[in-house]
């Protein structure tokens, strides 16, 4: 009797989980399905099953060049910002973790403070700053302000503090210079934390909309999310092409997610349980 009730409960759980899974996945499946429909066709109702398949929307986007430039921009900006964060968050985190000067303690307080500041309240002054500094509507505006971030510093600092300082002391006794110790000995040891950081930064940057939107004007500088949002505004909604572009925007994230799930999850839960 007990095992039968158990089986029933397990079946119930699977049914419930599957129903939720359908709700969570359907909108993304819908995006992919519409991206494969004939341009201009109606997408609702039973069309989901019946409509003919075509890859012409993807072909159109690439041949018209509407998508290629934003895609390249997103990759350039994403890679630069990610590399910057790997280097700079590590440098700052090392300084804060290993040097106990008063100024460093003050700096760590500023990291925590900025972590709590809602970034969106700076859109106006950052816009003015970029205009006055002459970097408005250039790659610099998309890259420079984001090269180091407080969450990244926090994450890497915690990791460095968990490493035994004995390795560094031994190298110091051997006469290695400070910078050599930092970059050639400690940095390679931080690879797991830096991988988590890199994924987080890349995802955030790849999906980012507000700042790339307000800090650029030219079509040639739009990133993928900005181009998609504006494409919707300009045309009488052309869902097939829009969903094809969306699919391309989602694909890299999806692929990275499938391969790097563990790092992604540990990045999200790192700060939470410590509290």
């Amino acid at each position: 009797m007990v095992s039968r009730a158990g089986t029933l409960r397990a079946t119930g759980r699977y049914l419930l989980l599957s129903a939720i899974l359908v709700i969570m996945i359907f909108p993304l499946v819908w995006m992919f399905r519409v991206s494969l429909m004939e341009p201009g066709s109606i997408s609702g109702g039973s069309r989901f099953v019946e409509a003919a398949f075509t890859v012409s929307n993807f072909a159109d986007l690439f041949t018209s060049g509407q998508l290629l430039r934003p895609l390249i921009n997103s990759v350039i900006v994403g890679v630069m910002v990610t590399l910057g964060n790997i280097l700079f968050c590590f440098m700052v985190a090392y300084s804060l973790a290993r040097y106990q000067f008063i100024i460093n303690k003050g700096l760590f307080a500023t990291v925590i403070a900025v972590l709590m500041i809602p970034a969106h309240i700076t859109i106006i002054p950052l816009y003015v700053l970029c205009v006055k500094a002459g970097i408005y509507d250039s790659y610099w505006a998309l890259i420079l302000p984001w090269l180091v971030n407080p969450i990244g510093i926090f994450l890497v600092k915690q990791y460095i503090e968990s490493l035994p300082p004995a390795v560094e002391e031994a190298a110091r006794i051997d006469g290695a210079s400070e910078l050599r110790i930092v970059f050639q000995i400690v940095m390679p040891l931080c690879k797991p934390a830096l991988a988590v950081l890199a994924i987080q930064v890349f995802f955030t940057n790849w999906n980012s909309f507000l700042f790339p939107y307000i800090l650029t004007l030219s079509d040639s500088l739009r990133t993928l999310p900005v181009a998609l949002a504006l494409y919707q505004g300009h045309q009488a909604v052309d869902w097939q092409h829009l969903m094809a572009g969306s699919t391309i925007a989602v694909l890299p994230v999806l692929v990275l997610f499938l391969f790097l799930q563990r790092q992604i999850v540990s990045g999200i839960t790192a700060g939470a349980v410590k509290q």
């Binding site: 939720i20 909108p27 000067f101 309240i121 106006i124 400070e178 790849w206 909309f209 509290q275």
Partner: protein
């Protein structure tokens, strides 16, 4: 200065530069221009508190505050409870749990622009959600959910809950994993029911995690913007505070001073809520 001190400063310099250039200067600058009538391509004149006075008689701004509060207080309790429910459902060992976890989590790492575009279509007059509503015997709004002041904001909120529950589910899962099994074993021996175990062990021990989730979610939700921009452009009574700042400062009249004052009102609101939440987090006696 000693060599070690120099190295420490050198290594910290990227943060020092970013802190000064991209945080301190903008925050101080926007605080100052909040007291001027600075408008792009026109000069700035000192106007004292008149921006703030105008804000609180500006109906669009007041509606934006109202909508932001509806958004924050409408979504956060639901998101938190659903995320906890999902975490409990996928917790433990069973076949296929990795698939369910990944599936639930997937929307939250997708671009908000893409999600908002997808739902713009799903919420349309002939879209799937209207279809579902009709199947449930309800009558969906004539022009679609987003073209109706009574449903637009709530539709966006529902999407936001859908999108973010998987993310907070993961944090709850980490919290569940940190609860020692011995507690449940002892409760089992003492004959406590599953429901009793949940209310006496699981819920109290998840309290810090739940508060952490509420804090980060409210800082995020007070700044809601992208979904409003993509789905309604602030029309149909959906303008929020960040949308108002964008609209007043960078879209219609480029009133940078006025928009900066609005940004500081938002800053103060978020700061007050963060302080309140930290106070609750530190309390010895829990609220539940």
């Amino acid at each position: 200065m000693s060599g070690r001190k120099k190295t420490a400063l050198l290594l910290a310099s990227p943060w020092i530069v970013t802190l000064l250039l991209f945080w301190t200067v903008p925050l101080v600058y926007s605080f100052i221009i909040g007291f001027t009538d600075y408008q792009l391509l026109k000069g700035a004149r000192w106007v004292g508190f008149s921006n703030y006075v105008e804000l609180f008689s500006d109906e669009v701004f007041l509606a934006s505050i109202k909508n932001t509060f509806i958004f924050v207080f409408g979504t956060i309790p639901i998101t938190t409870v659903v995320a906890l429910g999902l975490a409990l459902l996928v917790n433990g060992q069973f076949k296929g749990r990795a698939v369910f976890r990944a599936g639930f989590f997937l929307p939250s790492i997708t671009s908000m622009v893409v999600i908002a575009l997808i739902f713009t279509s799903l919420y349309e007059r002939g879209g799937y959600i209207a279809l579902l509503a009709r199947m449930a015997g309800l009558s969906p709004p004539e022009h679609g959910f987003l073209y109706n002041a009574g449903t637009a904001l709530y539709s966006i909120m529902a999407m936001d809950v859908w999108m973010s529950v998987g993310y907070y589910m993961l944090i709850f899962l980490a919290g569940l994993k940190a609860i020692p099994d011995e507690l449940y074993e002892a409760a089992e021996v003492a004959g406590a029911s599953a429901v009793r175990q949940f209310f006496s062990i699981t819920l109290p021990l998840l309290r810090p995690v739940a508060l952490f989730i509420i804090v980060i979610n409210s800082i995020k939700s007070f700044q809601v913007f992208v979904e409003i921009f993509v789905m309604t452009h602030g029309k149909f009574d959906t303008s929020t505070m960040v949308y108002f700042i964008y609209d007043a400062g960078l879209r219609t009249d480029f009133r940078l001073g006025y928009a900066s004052a609005a940004a500081y009102v938002l800053f103060v609101i978020i700061a007050l809520f963060s302080i309140l939440q930290f106070y609750l987090m530190r309390r010895r006696r829990p609220l539940w």
